[in-house]
């Protein structure tokens, strides 16, 4: 491949045209001698060809792969790269051995990192070094590198689940409630304002309602807390196939996956529609790249049509399951068709049609309600972007570090991606991944997406960025992976992963819930009659996870002024006003550890204000405690 630079990145893996060199290399890998491999190469080359010529022979690459049973590949891995296999095995054997010693109650404002023991970091360091050595090892099979990435995913995303033992993120608890509603009633409720997006795009929830019934589980809590682990694992194969569409260098594919998971700090992989739909989105791109790209000459017409049918099925599933993913998918497909003059224009057109049809039918309630606000936000790029960024002036010092780590990691990924782009600047294969990386940025023009748009832009841009970052770190010539380069990779992975740990785990002091907090919420829903009003400072508690249709909520500290100011100055009157605003069956005030941490860490209320609310309510003599433990207090008005 010498001399062709990164143009070989455009050689597609499935059914692609193989060069004579590829056949030589693959035959060597398959265990044939150099002479035999040379012989086979000679049969493919014209008399005048040099080994570096780009002579193409129509063959399927898959036919040459020395595939065997998994055990054979593992044995081959141990033989060819014993050091990383042994180091990986050591990490896996002791994977969660440090977890029992972790005390989440001692966590500071920098999140889970503040209580992780040295042994846990030691495991991670060993994994980084092992992966770097696996990248260097000459004949290391890709499965060994993949196993490192799997181990990384399980360690990073499994640790919080084992440490907390409860579902993270208050909004994920709401998703449990939607699954509960659907599986209990067999319907959706598009006009329920609190859950409007979920019931207007219900695919994710109907799927998990079916799964909950199949599993015989009482609640989706039985499988929701491990969602970050299984969604990330499910993403690995599509992601690998996606990167494999731009390069046949398997090291670059592994490295791009590794960098993707390091860069993925924004926590969009929990039990939520976007996590599943992001996977489906990547699969749609893979299908386009593997079956519809015009460079692929050996795909039968019938196979292309079949791939298109599958893509349309996926589009329907995506368009009915999530608001934003179909928009990005439509943009991506249209851009690829324009850039590559691909045959897939029908698929791009169907994406537009399906999305429009769903907005006008299944999601018409949401569309009608929100069209004006979307139109108002259109074009306000700066406002949309800024709405996602936390106000660091109000944040605690720990949260300041966390926010800066997230920004630094994003910036580092961008810088690495730019280096990769520059290295590929003369390649005709630059355009598609570059477009896939850049076009999610156009979403900033459209909407603030409830203050989350910049995170979603980052998520959709990350696959392209990770690929370019991998190109930046990979040698120009496939297989020339020196020990020095591995040292560079390990050295670079350490600060990147360090930033990732702060950015990803940094909010956990407020995002996780203790078993006491869960007990408090369970008591509330067991005892509050239908039609009750639940009042708190913020919604940062396990809430709405059952009988969602029976309760109303008010979160006073997140309401606009003057309510937010009044809760500081006169909490008793503010809560009384909230209760008397509308007739309700009963009203409960719930204050928990999570709310207090959130209002203080994010600067929503002054430090001590949350405790002051509870003290003043109780000392007024007008409220009494109906449930209390170390982390939750539930109060009721005396007159009720």
């Amino acid at each position: 491949m010498t001399g062709v630079g990164y143009d070989y990145y455009r050689q597609y893996a499935p059914m692609r045209e193989e060069t004579a060199e590829d056949v030589y290399a693959i035959n060597q890998l398959a265990g044939f001698s150099s002479k035999a491999a040379n012989s086979s190469m000679r049969t493919l080359l014209p008399e005048t060809s040099s080994p570096s010529s780009e002579t193409h022979v129509s063959v399927t690459s898959i036919a040459f792969k020395p595939k065997g049973p998994m055990l054979d590949r593992v044995r081959s891995g141990i033989r060819s790269a014993p050091a990383p296999v042994i180091m990986l095995a050591a990490v896996m054997v002791a994977l969660f051995s440090n977890v029992p010693g972790i005390r989440p109650e001692n966590m500071t404002d920098t999140g889970l990192v503040s209580v992780l023991p040295l042994g846990w970091f030691g495991q991670l360091a060993l994994l980084i070094v092992s992966f770097a050595i696996a990248m260097h090892a000459k004949d290391c099979p890709p499965i060994v590198r993949t196993a490192h990435i799997v181990c990384f995913i399980v360690l990073i995303h499994g640790t919080p689940d084992l440490v907390y033992g409860t579902l993270r993120y208050s909004w994920a608890w709401k998703h449990i409630g939607v699954v509960d509603y659907i599986s209990r009633t067999g319907t959706v409720n598009p006009s329920a304002s609190l859950y409007s997006p979920y019931y207007n795009w219900p695919g994710f929830f109907t799927l998990f309602s079916l799964g909950k019934s199949f599993a015989g589980a009482k609640s989706a809590l039985a499988f929701a807390s491990w969602a970050p682990v299984y969604f990330n694992l499910l993403l690995l194969a599509p992601l690998s196939a996606f990167f494999g569409s731009f390069t046949k260098d398997k090291r670059v594919v592994s490295l791009a996956c590794w960098l993707f998971y390091i860069g993925s700090w924004i926590g969009q992989d929990y039990f939520a529609p976007q996590a599943l739909n992001f996977i489906l989105y990547i699969v749609v791109l893979v299908l386009w790249l593997r079956f519809l790209d015009p460079d692929l000459s050996n795909i039968a017409k019938s196979t292309r049509r079949t791939a298109m049918v599958i893509m349309v099925l996926l589009q329907v599933a995506i368009s009915t399951s999530h608001q934003l993913t179909p928009v990005v998918m439509t943009l991506a497909l249209t851009t690829m068709v324009v850039l590559r003059k691909g045959r897939g224009w029908r698929v791009a057109a169907s994406a537009v049609a399906i999305n429009a049809a769903w907005l006008a039918s299944g999601a018409r309630t949401f569309t009608a309600r929100n069209l004006k606000s979307v139109a108002d936000g259109f074009g306000s790029v700066t406002e949309n972007a800024n709405s996602s960024l936390s106000d660091l002036a109000k944040a605690s010092s720990g949260q300041l570090i966390v926010a800066q780590m997230g920004r630094a990691l994003s910036a580092a990924m961008l810088v690495l991606a730019i280096v990769g782009i520059l290295r590929m600047r003369k390649s005709k294969s630059l355009l598609v991944p570059l477009a896939l990386m850049a076009l999610p940025g156009t979403l900033l023009v459209a909407s603030s997406y409830g203050g989350e748009i910049i995170f979603r832009v980052y998520l959709f841009a990350l696959p392209g960025a990770a690929f370019f970052a991998a190109v930046a770190l990979a040698p120009r010539e496939e297989g020339r992976w020196t020990l020095r380069r591995s040292a560079l990779l390990a050295g670079l992975s350490v600060p990147l992963i360090g930033a990732m740990l702060f950015a990803h785990y940094g909010g956990d002091r407020q995002y996780h819930f203790t078993r006491n907090e869960v007990s408090g919420s369970e008591w509330l829903y067991s005892n509050a009659p239908a039609g009750s009003l639940v009042i708190g400072l913020t919604s940062n508690l396990p809430w709405a996870f059952e009988h969602t249709e029976q309760y109303r909520y008010r979160w006073l500290a997140t309401e606009d002024d003057p309510v937010r100011q009044q809760i500081i100055n006169d909490p008793v009157q503010t809560v009384n006003d909230a209760i008397d605003a509308k007739p309700v069956a009963a009203s409960f005030v719930i204050l928990n550890r999570g709310q207090q941490v959130q209002v203080e860490a994010n600067g929503i209320l002054p430090v001590g204000a949350a405790q002051n609310v509870q003290t003043k309510l109780l000392s007024s003599g007008r409220f009494r405690i109906v449930f209390q433990n170390a982390d939750v207090t539930v109060m009721k008005r005396e007159s009720e």
């Binding site: 309602s209 079916l210 015989g216 599958i310």
Partner: protein
Amino acid sequence: MISAKRVTPYLFVGLTFALAAMGAAGSETGLRTLAAFAFLLVCPGLPWVWVLGDVEARVAVVVAIALSVAIDVLLSEAMIYLRLWSPVWGFVILTAIGGLGLALGAKRGYWDRQGNEIRQPAPVATAMPAAQDER
């Protein structure tokens, strides 16, 4: 060696029967949860992968899972919007969809073929004997 293709029918039948048996027994274990999601991720879509021909194994796995999820989503939504919500019928329909794919694939002899050795191209036939002679 048993190829991935040959495993597919056994995987489909095994998962379907395991889930049906655990459901009938009223099991509430983590094993049933695993079987339920393995069924949803594999059974509706994997038996239809043959429609794409002989693709790279990685792509076949990706398509099988994504197709399964898409079928699950569309079926569950259809049951909701048609007000015909029934997990039991959902299970029956998903099994029927997968079973049909399996039967049509079997009719074409797809499940009997070796994994990736089909469509062996001519250049390999030239190269392989030379390599074997060398040995």
